[in-house]
């Protein structure tokens, strides 16, 4: 497998704060990677670096190209949806389809129209007449009609209701994603997408603190519900995190043998959200 994104020693400073601090990671083709981190951890900065929208130090190769010098070429292979409502409000839906078809060599008009036909969006409508959810539907239809190798989503479903959010990821999985494509997504609604992710990248204060496949995560991490009498024994194994529920303690462990943990109490596979909270503790303190 070849790496779609190869980052080595990526750094970016805004004044005195390091948005990215000597970050290195690889993203393989055919993966769906969740880039997860608290506000201000450097997620957006990393995405902007990949998209050639921000300056940075270090080396970065996206589909074999340097985003700093080959942006235009790169954007034929890379699509992105950044936040909601970045479609210009004056644009007509039909004109948007014409325009993208006019400038993008990998855009399929038929596919876009087929996707739009499933929605209530009409070609004569302007973006400003659409609801937030419809704007995202339109944007997704435009992007899914582009046969790109890398799709970058930066909080694509922010501010949408659950129906739109579910539909967004369902469409993406059923009509877009295949082993030729790679998706890199950031979101705070991590519970909703953890079942579609293949890889996790946790970023905290400009550093990568977890870089693992979802399979690895299941292997490495375990959550144990422990009765008070065994709590001290559990603490001796240096859990990542501890929380209380119904008088019991729940401990999260990294890399401890499952059979040893089973002696302490009931084993669970931790959710990505729990893992996130455990990894990021102290961020805002």
């Amino acid at each position: 497998m070849t790496a779609v994104v190869q980052a080595k020693g990526l750094s970016k400073r805004y004044g005195n704060t390091a948005a990215l601090d000597n970050v290195s990671f690889d993203i393989e083709a055919g993966r769906i990677v969740g880039l997860v981190g608290p506000n201000g951890a450097g997620k957006t900065t990393a995405l902007k670096a990949i998209l050639g929208l921000a300056e940075f130090d270090g080396s970065l190769s996206v589909l074999g190209l340097d985003p700093r010098t080959h942006r235009t070429q790169l954007m034929e292979q890379v699509c992105f949806i950044a936040d909601v409502a970045v479609l210009p409000r004056w644009l007509r839906v039909g004109d948007a389809v014409d325009f993208v078809g006019g400038v993008h060599p990998r855009f399929s008009r038929e596919k876009c129209e087929k996707l739009l036909a499933r929605t209530k969006i009409k070609p004569t409508q302007r973006v400003r007449e659409l609801s937030k959810g419809m704007i995202v539907q339109l944007h997704l239809a435009l992007v899914m009609a582009i046969d790109a190798k890398l799709l970058i989503l930066d909080e694509p479903t922010l501010g949408l209701d659950i129906l739109y959010r579910k539909e967004f990821y369902n469409n993406l999985l059923s009509d877009y994603f295949d082993e030729q494509k790679t998706i890199l997504v950031t979101t705070h609604q991590i519970e909703e997408i953890e079942h579609i992710l293949t890889d996790l990248l946790f970023i905290k204060e400009g550093k990568i603190v977890l870089d693992a496949t979802m399979d690895d995560v299941g292997e490495r991490f375990a959550e144990v519900m422990v009765n008070p009498d065994k709590a001290d024994a559990a603490r001796a194994l240096k859990p990542l995190y501890e929380r209380q529920i119904f008088g019991k303690s729940i401990f999260l462990f990294d890399g401890i043998d499952k059979s040893r943990l089973a002696e302490l109490g009931e084993l669970h596979k931790p959710s990505v959200a729990d893992l996130f909270v455990a990894t990021m503790k102290g961020t805002y303190a």
Binding site: F99, S108, V143
Partner: protein, 331 residues
């Protein structure tokens, strides 16, 4: 699939500017033309009613007798006066064009950063150079071409109204008002003036685009206040007699050029206009001298013109560079 070339992409980008600014580029000149024609029509109706009430009727036969005495010289004078009238009639459209393009340029590289739609445009395989140049072309070629269209609509409407009015009184005005050679020569001149105006306007276009790409907020204040405050300081220093630069020169050749060169035909030599005035020459001859191909070529070869083009291109290059760098700065 459909062939996508750099030039087809460029045309799509110009088209996008047209979609966004259809109101300013197309409807503004067309509506001004229609409103002016409505006023002219109302004027004609008023004139007709007043004449009838006063009891004197325009008699076709008398006019015909009058016109039969017109010789070739009178006819040429009449044509000249008509040309002057037809050209000056377009003044409101030209003024509107200046205002529209001025604010278009100020917002061209700023508004999409303010509403973050720049992120959508930047997600497409479009180069920043092409993007900025498409905005230059939209402001300096497309908008003036549509203004010329508006002026032609106005002229034709005017001629049709007067021809109908004359016909109402049994006069055939066709030979007097409709001279195809005159009209076509005038329209060709309009078309030729578009690129001349565009080159002359480059310093203003460049400066406004530069401010538009640079400003984190309020591009208008930066674009206008920076040169004006500089000018005031220079004038003040001259008054203090501590600085030898002639402030009038600075106002005319720097501030005027970066802020006002978008005014259509503002490259004409005002000095020669004065001398013609004193000579008491026929305005139509003065006008045709001022806009003769020789006079245009003369002005284009002047240092003022050439240096302006170079400065304009340099500022456009700087705007392209800023467009590449400044994505993160939102308003």
């Amino acid at each position: 699939m459909n062939a996508i070339t750099p030039s087809s992409k460029f045309l799509w980008q110009v088209k996008r500017e047209f979609w966004e600014h259809r109101g300013g580029f197309l409807w503004t000149p067309v509506i001004i033309a229609l409103v002016m024609l409505a006023f002219i029509a109302m004027g004609l109706v008023t004139a007709e009613l007043t004449a009838q009430r006063a009891g004197f009727t325009l008699n076709g036969i008398h006019i015909d007798q009058l016109t039969s005495h017109i010789d070739a010289g009178d006819m040429a004078k009449f044509q000249g006066a008509l040309d002057v009238g037809l050209i000056t009639m377009g003044m409101p459209i030209r003024i509107a064009l200046f205002v529209v393009v001025f604010f278009y340029a100020l917002g061209a590289l700023y508004n999409d950063r303010a509403d973050r739609s720049v992120l959508f445009w930047k997600s497409l395989p479009l180069s920043d150079t092409q993007t900025v140049l498409s905005k230059v072309a939209a402001g300096l070629i497309l908008a003036p071409a549509l203004a010329v269209f508006g002026m032609i609509v106005l002229q034709l409407g005017f001629l049709i109204l007067f021809t109908l009015y004359a016909a109402l009184h049994g006069i055939n005005a066709l030979p007097y008002l409709w001279s195809p050679t005159h009209l076509i020569a005038m329209w060709i001149k309009f078309a030729v003036l578009i690129p001349v105006n565009a080159l002359w306007a480059l310093p203003t276009m460049g400066w406004l685009l530069l401010c538009s790409a640079w400003a984190r907020s309020k591009p208008f204040l930066w674009a206008v206040m920076l040169p004006v405050v500089t000018g005031v300081i220079i004038t003040w220093m001259q008054l203090m007699q501590s600085f030898s630069l002639h402030s009038g020169w600075f106002w005319q050749h720097v501030i005027g050029r970066v802020l006002l060169s978008l005014i259509p035909e503002s490259w004409i030599n005002l000095e020669s206009l004065k001398s013609l005035d004193h000579a008491g020459a026929d305005p139509s001859i003065a006008l045709s001298n001022l806009f003769s191909f020789g006079a245009i070529a003369d002005r284009m070869a002047s240092a003022n013109f050439v240096i302006g083009v170079a400065a304009g291109l340099a500022m456009i290059a700087a705007a392209i560079w800023l467009r590449r760098k400044r994505v993160e700065a939102y308003a």
